[in-house]
Amino acid sequence: MKSTWLEKNTFHYSEFNDLDRLVEEKQRKNLKISLCLPTLNEEKTIAKEILIMKSELMTRYPLLDELVVIDSGSTDKTREIARAYGADVYEATEILPDLEPFKGKGENLWKALYVTKGDIIVYLDADIKNIHHRFAYALLGPLILFDNIKYVKAFYDRPIAIGKSKIRPTGGGRVTELVVRPMFSLFFPELTQILQPLSGEYAGFREIFEAIPFPIGYGVETSMILDIYEKWGLDVIAQVDLDRRIHRNQDTRALGKMAFVILMTFINRKNKLGLIDLKEDLFNEMIQYNLVKNEYKPDIFQIEGHERPPIIEIPAYREKFKK
């Protein structure tokens, strides 16, 4: 396998910190840029993300044209706080209300395409404790400066937060290393050059996002990479080192579910592309066991595996964007 992509298309955020230049190029190319934050109960971090992005990339440097929060029905104060700090806040269910509603991050990302106006959309998870404006401008850098790049993915040296107030310098990314990387190695060795395929932070041109399907849940990151790779090839993708991202540490059970969804998405996608031949449908239940009073009780987690079609196929979208 050649790893020329990794050398050519991997960047460090510091290569893009001349914000005047980014703004100038953005204006010259007449681009509009939207930032989208998908949320579900993120009252602790949402204000910080909005404040910093607004201050640095809207007020001080006009790089972002809008900042939207798409919420999955938070039961904490996420939406109120986001509104108080001036984001455009939507509940996912309010967008395209005639469609059957689904719940998940992927659903929010997909619906964001309908309510945002940008030619470029930046997606950032809303749970980033050490949020900094580089998370957005560095993802935008390659899209604005290099004509061939259409999609940019973040990677990190990921420390994880342990307990309430201690942090530890390395670790994280278990699902990446134990599931996605082996899978990519088996089927698409070239894709292993994408160092953190599961990172929740990426940006791309609308013409890319509107032409691919979005799984509604955890599978969205993997499927996005596969689709972009299949449709446009690796060369339209770049990755940027954003330094550190402080992440909460999930337990193994939660990661198990995540791995399940990712595997399911991956296998279905390969099947659809005709790359493998499934003799029967996959089961859609992740089964984990609990020991309750000396008895093993199954804990079943059902995943519908719903997927939204490319939004360009939705008439309301085509009408709104005159496509």
Partner: protein
């Protein structure tokens, strides 16, 4: 000359209009741990931010205090200093990530002194937003090694090596809005160590207990007659010692401060305590070590000093009631060098000195307007000799 007073209320709204930027500075700097003596990372973010706001000169002094200078219009007027200490009591292993809600910011060090530091760095942008130019250069200094064992080394060094006169100074603390400090007590901070040696020398017939020895020291200190005037006191502030519940303590340590508005009184109490320690050491045949950790001289400007008067006017104009107590911080170093100075607080909060310290956002804008008002007062000459004459 007092025309600036009338502008203050509308300043509050203008300052509020860039609240995103002010809070961003507070967060980006405050989230970097900076325990005393390990302020390097915070220092570089501080400088980066100043440079980012195109401050005329960004540099560090010989002691690595980060400094930004906003150039004034006059060639001759001495500079005005605005300082906030950078260091915190929290170690690098403590989570410093802040949580922001509609009207609050929560997290380690936010009250001491992230708000102060974030506001300091935001001043150039606030000046710009308010269309303010000053005659004096404004020197914005984040000072290191301030707290505890740092013993105000950063500010001491900065002022000692600053080669030209200084017109006046404002020290910024996150908390508490309404404070107006303009005098510093004399202070000596000491530690007494009691060690009962177990190895060499002869064995005690009745082995003394280090904690009880220090207890005796405390008792005798408490018996000292301290005058009401000059106002003086001894604060027994820290104690540690012993090893196990069921074992006679081999070691113990006592930390205290002698405070008085008269340096002479501090000296005299300090001598008394030295005598007490020597006496007990002799009588009980134990080793007692008295160590002086730091000293501050009593210094003040008078309540009727024009700087204090104008500060009171500024605060009143903003509906604040000034509350004055002695303060042994950066302020005392300015005052002891005969530089008129005040310390002011930016906002209110709770859980001071805890990892879940919390401040209110809304009062901050008044707190900042007040700082601006006082800088304008100094720039208009209230600290100058001609004015005082």
């Amino acid at each position: 000359m007092d025309s600036y007073l009338d502008k203050l209320p509308e300043f509050v709204d203008t300052i509020k209009s860039i609240k995103e930027t002010i809070i961003t500075n507070i967060v980006l700097i405050g989230q970097i741990p900076a325990p005393t003596f390990k302020e390097k990372r915070r220092t570089s973010v501080f400088m980066e931010r100043l440079a980012d706001f195109h401050v005329d000169e960004c540099t560090t002094d010989g002691y690595r205090n980060p400094i930004g200078i906003v150039k004034g219009t006059s060639e001759t007027k001495p500079p005005i200093f605005v300082v906030a200490h950078l260091d915190t009591i929290w170690g690098t292993d403590i989570d410093h990530y802040y949580t922001i809600k509609e009207n609050s910011i929560t997290g380690a060090g936010i009250m001491d002194n992230s708000i102060g530091v974030g506001v300091l760095v935001s001043l150039p942008e606030i000046f710009r937003k308010l269309n303010l130019r000053f005659e004096s250069d404004i020197v914005l200094a984040g000072v290191i090694q301030s707290l505890g064992k740092g013993n105000l080394r950063g500010i001491r060094h900065l002022l000692k090596t600053w080669s030209t006169p200084i017109r006046g100074a404002v020290c910024i603390e996150s908390n508490e809005l309404g404070r107006l400090n303009y005098y510093a007590d004399g202070m000596t901070r000491c530690e007494i160590d009691c060690n009962i040696s177990t190895i060499n020398g002869w064995e005690h017939k009745f082995k003394p207990n280090a904690i009880l020895i220090l207890n005796e020291v405390i008792n005798q200190i408490l018996k000292l007659r301290l005058p009401q005037r000059p106002r003086s006191r001894v604060i027994i502030g820290k104690m540690s010692g012993g090893f196990k519940h069921g074992m006679i303590a081999n070691d113990a340590r006592l930390g205290f401060e002698i405070q008085s508005n008269s340096d002479k009184m501090v000296k005299s109490i300090s001598n008394n305590i030295k005598d007490i320690v020597e006496g007990i050491s002799h009588e009980y045949e134990v080793e007692l070590k008295l160590k002086t950790l730091s000293n501050i001289h009593a210094a003040r400007i008078k309540f009727n000093h024009p700087l204090v008067k104008s500060t009171v006017d500024v605060m009143k104009k903003l509906g604040l009631t000034p509350i004055s107590e002695p303060s042994e911080s950066e302020l005392s170093i300015f005052l002891s060098r005969k530089i008129p100075a005040v310390t002011l607080g930016i906002t209110r909060g709770e859980n001071y000195q805890q990892t879940n310290a919390m401040v209110e956002i809304e009062p901050m804008f008044k707190g900042i307007a007040q700082i601006i008002g006082v800088i304008m007062a100094i720039d208009s000459g209230v600290c100058d000799e001609e004015y005082l004459a």
